[in-house]
């Protein structure tokens, strides 16, 4: 009974007793979730348009951030570096389409999936060769990103919000908004949506598949860059990040592989969920359950709602 | 070529009885109150215009679909819902309109796979694939070779079925079904997309199966000529309802049937 008490009563008592901590945890979870969501967003963009399950999304985040910082280290002014990084991400997208996707066109999914592993390995090695393997500090203030924290009392304690986190949330929201508009309003955006449904439809809009692939991979690259900056600013720019990026997978399971809003919501659920779990239930298990909690949630989902929260239902016919 | 006398003799008691079966997907009604029976040793044809619910009927019979209402009695035992593997264990084999072969495996392995239920040697023996396990393999290989010989596909014995022309793949699929030594064999358009020669071969095989092994056969077919030659009795479905159930010649003259088919692009070719 004691254990049941520990599991089902204590945590909530704690929440009630120290609402400030609760809010703090929720906020941290929210921010983490936003970043997961951004990575997941990258996955979704590519999966929607090219049906490729892009395992390299995580490393693309690291790579983008590394490039930015690395260039700046070489004495390139921050915003020029930012511009250059964007160019690099475009070149990456272009290269991927030319050297990987095109030769592998109409191969089975697993093959394309494996190919993105190849890309991952390449980027890891390449990134390290060029910029070195050791962690770097994000050039936050050079990019005029706020630092420091806002603290306010209340809730029987005080809650502190890192300004960078707030910025992250805002930027993320803006980016999602922009993407949404891009998909809904612009011709290319509509083409991309069409591709998701049928390739013929896309061609009818007058855009070749190759172009579309380049575009989505580029878009994913930009998202990755933004993510990298945010994440880098919060902690540091290092390759360990790519493992964390795998968290985007459970996010996708929740959100569904093809749904942008799904990615956002899923990200938030996972982010907040795992923070709460870690903070209130983690100690019971000796802590560190963050590392797998997300996946277990996903697992649960898989068994009961395989198509995710927003994904289209996949039905099998005989 | 087959004396009618022997046919009548072959017709035995009821093997499978379908009573008032209804099936619907969401709002769509696939089958409504269909009843008919299949008797031991006969070749039973199920015909009807596209979307008449023929395939759904087969899927109900071998457990892919669970009917919302109705009774199905197989070998005297009533059952409403069962999984396909249970149907297989019960002695129902099936081929598909659009092939369902194991493309990565050779003709031999595909047909051997059909013996899955007949092979019983335990996991341990499989590990060393020696003694009993090997003896079992050999014994079943022998049976399979008889089927291969029967279907005249010896030449493609060791070819991965993925590489075979369509007609041959159909044969291999039939072979896999035969390997199960079924009491009831369901054939879903066994001659779809075949040229005349292939059709003739396939008809011959179906007849020989029915005669040599006395297997009861229920088949869906569009080619009326084929149906008339092969089948002993014909069920006609239209929009999920049974509109006729009689001997081929009577069905041919049945006005409901003709009406049902007149609306059809490919009419009765008799």
């Amino acid at each position: 009974m004691d254990i049941l008490h520990k599991v089902f009563i204590d945590p909530f008592v704690q929440m009630g007793m120290a609402p400030d901590l609760l809010v703090q945890t929720l906020w941290d979870g929210l921010v983490g979730g936003v970043l997961y969501a951004l990575i997941a967003l990258g996955f979704v963009l590519i999966f929607k348009a090219s049906g490729v399950f892009n395992f390299a999304q995580g490393i693309m985040v690291v790579f983008a951030a590394l490039t930015l910082v690395g260039l700046h280290e070489q004495g390139v002014p921050a915003f020029v570096a930012l511009g250059l990084t964007v160019v690099v991400m475009f070149m990456l997208a272009f290269g991927v389409e030319r050297l990987v996707l095109r030769p592998l066109v109409n191969q089975s999914d697993i093959i394309l999936f494996m190919a993105t592993f190849g890309i991952t390995y390449f980027l890891i090695g390449f990134g390290q060769l060029v910029f070195g393997g050791n962690p770097k500090v994000m050039i936050a203030q050079q990019l005029y990103l706020p630092s420091g924290a806002i603290e306010f009392k209340g809730l029987g304690g005080f809650v502190s919000l890192q300004k960078i986190d707030i910025a992250a949330v805002i930027i993320a929201s803006v980016m999602v908004a922009v993407l949404a508009v891009f998909f809904q309003r612009t011709r290319i955006g509509r083409a991309l949506r069409a591709v998701a449904d049928s390739h013929q439809a896309a061609l009818s809009v007058g855009i070749s598949l190759e172009q579309i692939w380049v575009i989505v991979w580029f878009a994913a690259g930009i998202v990755a860059l933004a993510t990298g900056i945010m994440w880098g600013a919060r902690s540091e720019v290092s390759f360990s990040l790519q493992i964390i990026a795998l968290k985007a997978l459970p996010v996708l399971i929740l959100g569904g592989l093809t749904s942008i809003p799904g990615a956002i919501v899923g990200g938030l659920i996972i982010g907040i969920g795992e923070k709460l779990a870690e903070f209130y239930w983690g100690p019971l298990l000796g802590g560190g359950i963050e590392s797998w909690f997300a996946y277990v949630i996903a697992l649960g989902f898989l068994v009961f709602r395989p198509q995710g929260l927003f994904g289209e239902r996949l039905i099998e016919r005989i | 070529m087959r004396a009618p006398s022997s046919r009548e003799a072959a017709l035995g008691e009821v093997l499978l009885a379908v009573e008032d079966v209804s099936l619907a997907f969401g709002g769509v009604r696939a089958l409504t109150g269909v009843s008919f029976d299949i008797r031991k040793g006969e070749i039973r044809a199920i015909i009807g215009p596209n979307g008449a619910g023929k395939t759904s009927m087969l899927n109900v019979v071998n457990g892919f679909y669970q009917p919302q209402s109705g009774r199905i009695t197989f070998k005297g035992k009533e059952r409403t819902s069962m999984r396909p593997y249970a149907a297989a264990e019960g002695g129902i084999a099936r081929t598909f309109q659009n092939l369902a072969l194991f493309r990565g495996m050779t003709t031999l392995d595909n047909i051997l796979a059909g013996r899955a239920l007949k092979m019983r040697r335990g996991f341990f023996w499989q590990l060393i694939r020696y003694g009993p396990a090997l003896r079992e393999e050999v014994e079943h290989r022998r049976r399979v070779e008889e089927i291969i010989d029967f279907l005249e596909i010896a030449a493609i014995r060791k070819v991965p079925v993925g590489r075979l022309p369509y007609g041959l793949q159909k044969r291999v699929e039939l072979g896999r079904a035969l390997a199960m030594e079924p009491d009831l064999l369901l054939l879903d358009e066994p001659m779809a997309g075949m040229n005349l020669e292939e059709k003739e071969d396939m008809s011959r095989f179906i007849l020989d199966v029915n005669q040599q092994y006395g297997t009861t056969i229920a088949l869906i077919e569009h080619d009326m000529g084929v149906v008339m030659d092969l089948s002993d009795r014909v069920v006609v479905l239209d929009y999920g309802r049974k509109i006729a159930d009689a001997a081929p010649d009577d069905v041919k003259s049945d006005k409901n049937v003709i009406r049902a088919y007149l609306g059809e692009p490919h009419g009765v070719s008799v």
């Binding site: - | 070529m1 087959r2 004396a3 290989r141 291969i148 010896a154 005669q211 040599q212």
Partner: protein, 658 residues
């Protein structure tokens, strides 16, 4: 040499003897249900005995004739021996014979009983059964499709064996009786009647005694040192004396194993699996394999092709010498060695010939380059000359004395002489006992003192001392101006070109020689593909002008070579056409052994022959043809006729320069 030791003077006796002496060895194999089902001599004796006694149960008696119809299956061979054990006489019939032809033979031989392979043959027999008053039982091997047939006269092979086994089990005397019956038979007894689809007229039933066949077989085995370790593949027609001797008698005598292929079209594959050591085939077979090789190699990569051609050239240059054990320069030996590793070995292996010790070709002249090719890559290919009336062997080439244009020296125990008219005659223990129910014909062929008229014109080649066959004696005619005209000789020269499958030379008592050509669909077809010539049918391809040009080139070469032999120089080909259909045994144009029936063809295509000599540029022809399923139809066509240039004798070389 050897004569029959009286103990073993019949085939059933040999079977029993082998079962005792080498009982554990494989006697027969059959590729069936995916593997080689094998029978040892002991097992085979049991099978044969059971069937034999079953036959007796079914009323087969000494002296009865019974027929065997089907492809090479162990059970059909057993049936022969089983019948012979009862003193009955097997009369094998060509499985691809049309019902009518079959009816004639069966009626003429008064067969009481038939052992057939499958439904197809049963149907044929049923179709003509009203013409076969004597025929009773029909025993079938494969039950497939016969389930609903009226079984009052039909019975399955294993059921007959069942009868036999039951009898054996129930009645203790039965076995002794059977063995006594076997022992009672003598070497001089009639053992088999083989109907030769003679090149003219109706088939004649050649009667052979046990002695005939067994002595020939003994001598042949001794001649080529064949023993129980040989592996042969039985794929030639059962009804043909060649198969009877090679796949049956010689096997019983030597004790070697006979392998039956899975199906006629898997012979090459099956031969490869078995790896035969003793091979026999008409020239056509070696020719086809070679054609197949060239066709397949045409699709190979450039480099591979170069290598291949180079080493084949090496083989052509040195191979035969090496095979005949002559002295050759070391470099040649080395090259040949490499070639053997890279090309010859693998090639022989692909065709399952790498273990062959002796391979024979007979029945027709073989193309020199075909002959050279095979010997070049190390196949010990030899020629023999034989006849049904002689239990095959008349002459054969001893090892080391091989020539592409001779048929060898007189076989052991055989005397050969040339009559004044130039016809080849022979006398031997193998000489047949006469034509069944046809003393007249027998007298024509068989002289009182035992010499047989072969009907072939030939002479002994002075340099090699071996026999050379020019042509059928009666076919050697003369043109109106009296020059010698040996159609076969010319036809062979033509047929040596892979593109030409058959050729018919006409000209007897005419002013000049003309030729009707059958193109070879395999090689011309692949040529057409390579040069993207589109064609829908044989007829279309045959009418194609480009094909005509190609054939014209070949004929031109033939004319040149004819011009260089003064005897033949006058008989050059002046006009030719390509036939619109392939010559076919079903239309009586070829014999079952694929020999031309020239006379018949010339009648059949009379209009074409006329057109040859009235100078027309084209000719109308419509011929009745028989399709596989037996029903008849008519093919009509308008054929182009080409004129050819003739070269003055000996001046050919100059001409070529000009």
């Amino acid at each position: 040499m050897q004569s029959v030791d009286l103990g073993l003077d019949t085939l059933p006796k040999l079977l029993i003897h082998n079962a005792g002496a080498i009982g554990g060895r494989s006697a027969m194999r059959h590729k069936d249900l995916g593997i080689w089902q094998a029978w040892t001599w002991v097992q085979m004796l049991e099978e044969v005995r059971a069937f034999s006694i079953g036959l007796a149960e079914r009323g087969l008696k000494r002296g009865d004739k019974f027929t065997i119809i089907g492809s090479n299956r162990p059970r059909l061979y057993w049936a022969m021996c089983a019948g012979q054990a009862l003193g009955a006489v097997p009369v094998p019939v060509y499985a691809d014979a049309v019902a009518d032809e079959m009816a004639f033979v069966l009626a003429h031989a008064e067969v009481m009983l038939a052992v057939v392979q499958d439904q197809e043959q049963v149907d044929k027999i049923i179709a003509v059964s009203d013409r076969l008053p004597h025929l009773g039982q029909v025993i079938y091997d494969e039950p497939r499709g016969l389930k609903d047939y009226d079984h009052s006269r039909l019975i399955a092979f294993e059921d007959v064996q069942g009868l036999g086994r039951k009898k054996l089990a129930s009645d203790p005397e039965c076995l002794q009786l059977w063995q006594a019956g076997v022992a009672a038979a003598k070497g001089s007894d009639l053992s088999v009647i083989l109907y030769t689809s003679g090149t003219t007229g109706r088939a004649k039933g050649v009667m052979l005694t046990y002695e005939n066949t067994i002595v020939s077989a003994r001598n042949a085995n001794a001649f080529d040192h064949l023993d129980q370790n040989e592996e042969v593949i039985a794929y030639l027609p059962l009804a043909w004396v060649g198969d009877y001797i090679f796949s049956y008698v010689q096997s019983y005598v030597a004790g070697y194993c006979v392998n039956c292929p899975e199906a006629p079209d898997t012979v090459v594959q099956d031969r490869r699996e078995i790896g035969t050591t003793y091979a026999f085939a008409p020239p056509r077979v070696y020719e086809n394999i070679l054609t197949l090789t060239t066709v397949r190699m045409a699709d190979a990569g450039a480099l591979k092709r170069k290598v291949f051609d180079f080493f084949i050239a090496v083989a052509g240059r040195w191979g035969q010498k090496i095979l005949d054990g002559e002295k050759v320069p070391l470099r040649a030996r080395l090259l040949y060695g490499i070639g053997n590793l890279l090309v010859y070995g693998p090639l022989m292996n692909q065709f399952g010939l790498s273990r062959v010790r002796v391979a024979y070709t007979a029945g027709e002249a073989i193309g020199p380059e075909i002959f050279r090719f095979w010997r070049g890559i190390g196949l010990n290919l030899k020629q023999l000359y034989g006849q049904t009336e002689a239990s095959v062997y008349v002459t054969a080439q001893p090892d080391g004395e091989i020539y592409s244009d001779t048929v060898g020296k007189a076989s052991p125990d055989v005397e050969v002489k040339i009559s004044d008219s130039g016809e080849v005659l022979y006398r031997s223990p193998g000489v047949f006992a006469g034509y069944y129910k046809d003393p007249g014909k027998t007298a024509e062929v068989l002289t009182p003192d035992g010499w047989v008229h072969t009907g072939d014109a030939g002479f002994f080649d002075p340099k090699s001392g071996q026999l050379k066959i020019i042509d059928r004696a009666k076919d050697v005619g003369r043109l109106s101006d009296g020059t010698v005209f040996a159609p076969k000789y010319i036809e062979n020269k033509l047929k040596f070109y892979p593109n030409i499958r058959e050729a018919v030379a006409v000209g007897a008592s005419r002013d000049f020689v003309c030729a009707m050509i059958n193109i070879d669909l395999t090689s011309v077809g692949s040529w057409a593909e390579r040069n993207n010539v589109v064609y829908g049918s044989y007829q279309e391809l045959a009418a194609n002008p480009q094909v005509y040009d190609m054939i014209a080139r070949h004929i031109d070469e033939v004319n040149r070579s004819l011009a260089e032999e003064e005897v033949m120089a006058g008989a050059q080909i002046r006009r030719f056409l390509i036939l619109h259909k392939e010559l076919d045994p079903d239309d009586g144009e070829l014999t079952r052994t694929q020999k031309l029936r020239r006379g018949h063809i010339i009648d059949r295509y009379g209009p074409l022959v006329e057109a040859f000599y009235n100078g027309a540029a084209t000719a109308e022809i419509s011929t009745e043809v028989t399709f596989e399923d037996g029903h008849k139809g008519v093919i009509a066509a308008r054929l182009a006729i080409r004129d050819m240039q003739a070269y003055p004798a000996r001046a050919a070389k100059l001409e070529r320069a000009a």
